[in-house]
Amino acid sequence: MKSDESFEREVRASLRASAAGSAPDQLAARIGEIPSREPSPRARGRGLRSFARLAVNLAAAAVVVIAVAALIVSRNGGNLPAGGQPTGSASLATQGASAATPAASAMPSAAASPSATLPSATPPAASTSPVPPATPSASTALLGLSPASVTFVSPNDGWVLGTGSCSGAPCAAIRRTADGGRTWAAVSAPHAAIVPGGYQGAPGISGIRFADARNGWAFGPDLWATHDGGATWARLTIAGLPADAAIVALETARGTVHAVVLDGQDYRVASSPVGADDFRLSAVRVPVGAGPVPSVQLVLSGVAGWLIENDRTVVGGARLVNGAWVAWQPPCADVVGPAFLAASSPTELAAACDVGLWGTSTGDHLYLSHDGGSRFVESGAAVPLQMAAQVASASQSVIVVGGSDATGAVLVATFDGGRTWAVVAHLGAVAIADLGFTTATQGVVITASANGTASLLMTRDGGRTWRAVGSTGG
């Protein structure tokens, strides 16, 4: 038997003999053309993390990125009165997606909008914002933009941020619905470029959130706010941070808006009353992980909140307790894969964990917490998809996970807390950018194809069926 050293030399020789020669010229040419083929990440939306994961499945898509991000706001199913109809005093919990990666990317998260009264269904007044000029258009069934982010504050009232056309050139655009997505009207947008959520090389915005009919934010990496329903927008900075500090996630709940900010090598949370633009930094810091593409997800539900950072695997987290962000051990920290979080109430959380993704993969698994995230327990069998990238929870029982199978992107759902699963939507060769519930029965997802087109889909039956809206009248 040869010595270890001798055998290692043999292995080296074998590898050198097996290795290919130089990269083919055609490959070098393809790579050299990337900057011209991909001239401006600003033209794309968010969702890099999602697309990177899904692109694995989409063999046709050697491309690894995307263009979308969306906010989804979901109503707290536990607080819903019977029949799911809101009451004037009902507390609305919102769940949505924020922060992008990986893919770069847009991540699901949650926020709560605790209005004592439901937001007005009346479209905002005429805008004075410079771009696009202000006057709300007449409502139409067509969305008229390529969606990047969506937010709802009630079953009827929502906004979509995306790429529209201003005198023939791409520009940030916002559409508002007052009837649950059946018709849309143009309202003013910040004078900013739409950028992929995970890309900070250029200023711009990639996400939108509203707390109520008046107070809203467009963000990622820049931060803009409106306090008049989107009629006017102002660019904000956060005291104590550089002017160009990147906002990577933002959600709002219970009269407070929380933004995750990259401060040097740490993520921090800055919080402000929704009407004040007075952001204060939390003391807790979540260090950036070692992987190439970290992603942060912010989830709010009522007075509770959670921040989780994935950087290929779960890296760290923070939790909102009694109004303060504190260090938190997120779920699936030891599974050698990422975790994606959703909350249907301050105590009910669902985590979709890609167990062993960077080690020995055993697939995606659902973990549930019934105590606000202190303890998670695996529920049921493995989730029947690959590379979960989005999760939304309408209630303790109803959980929808976005990922992919051999056919492409899919949504799978459980209606019994993870005991059984069913595929509820085959979405084809697209990336799922955001997924969430706006009520116990109404939900949203944004899909983006490799060619840059994006679509908004909604469910109105608790996640069982999903249809495109805004393109055909949905």
Partner: protein
């Protein structure tokens, strides 16, 4: 998602293009492609994985904090791109054929032994093959392999130990077989 960013990179399209072209030179590209061929055992897949990695690097160039560390940063992206390809294969009912150009049987004993070793390397699990290629082809240290693959140094050592044991067993079996009449 978002990462600390070198403000000198990616602020304008022209600068990004120039930076990308400078960093992604032919040597870096060749190394990435060779690594991918060893991991994937298929040149077409290796081309696609290398292209995917380059595209990812372009799109995340603004997140590269230190241009001097581009090669290590890009190396991690290449590792991930290859893993993506391997996972895609697992999901598809695809039978992975060895690239005939990369391993051809030979009657000569010395070459046959080398071919046996090459086949054994290709038969390793993806995790084992990854550390073997990074350690013995890319000549990375155990710590560098750990950083590249995102696992601990102890895991790397363990994987190397078991991989080498598997490879040695394969070669020994081949030697034993050849010695028989």
């Amino acid at each position: 998602m978002v990462k600390a960013q070198n403000p000198d990179i990616g602020r304008t399209d022209d600068r990004r293009t120039q930076t990308f072209a400078e960093l992604m030179d032919r040597r870096v590209l060749d190394n990435a492609y060779r690594y991918a061929t060893l991991i994937l055992g298929d040149r077409a897949d290796a081309e696609d994985a290398t292209h995917d990695a380059a595209l990812t690097a372009w799109r995340h160039l603004g997140e590269l904090r230190d241009p001097a560390k581009f090669e290590a940063w890009f190396g991690r992206i290449v590792v991930n791109a290859c893993r993506d390809r391997l996972r895609a294969r697992r999901r598809r009912p695809v039978h992975v054929e060895l690239d005939p150009e990369l391993s051809s049987p030979d009657a000569n004993d010395g070459l046959a032994r080398r071919d046996t070793l090459a086949l054994a390397i290709r038969s390793l699990s993806a995790d084992h093959r990854e550390v073997v290629v990074l350690r013995f082809y890319a000549d990375l240290t155990v710590d560098q392999v750990a950083a590249r693959t995102g696992v601990g140094a102890g895991t790397v050592k363990s994987r190397l130990h078991y991989a080498l044991r598997i490879l040695r067993a394969a070669v020994d079996a081949e030697d034993e077989g050849r010695s028989r009449p």
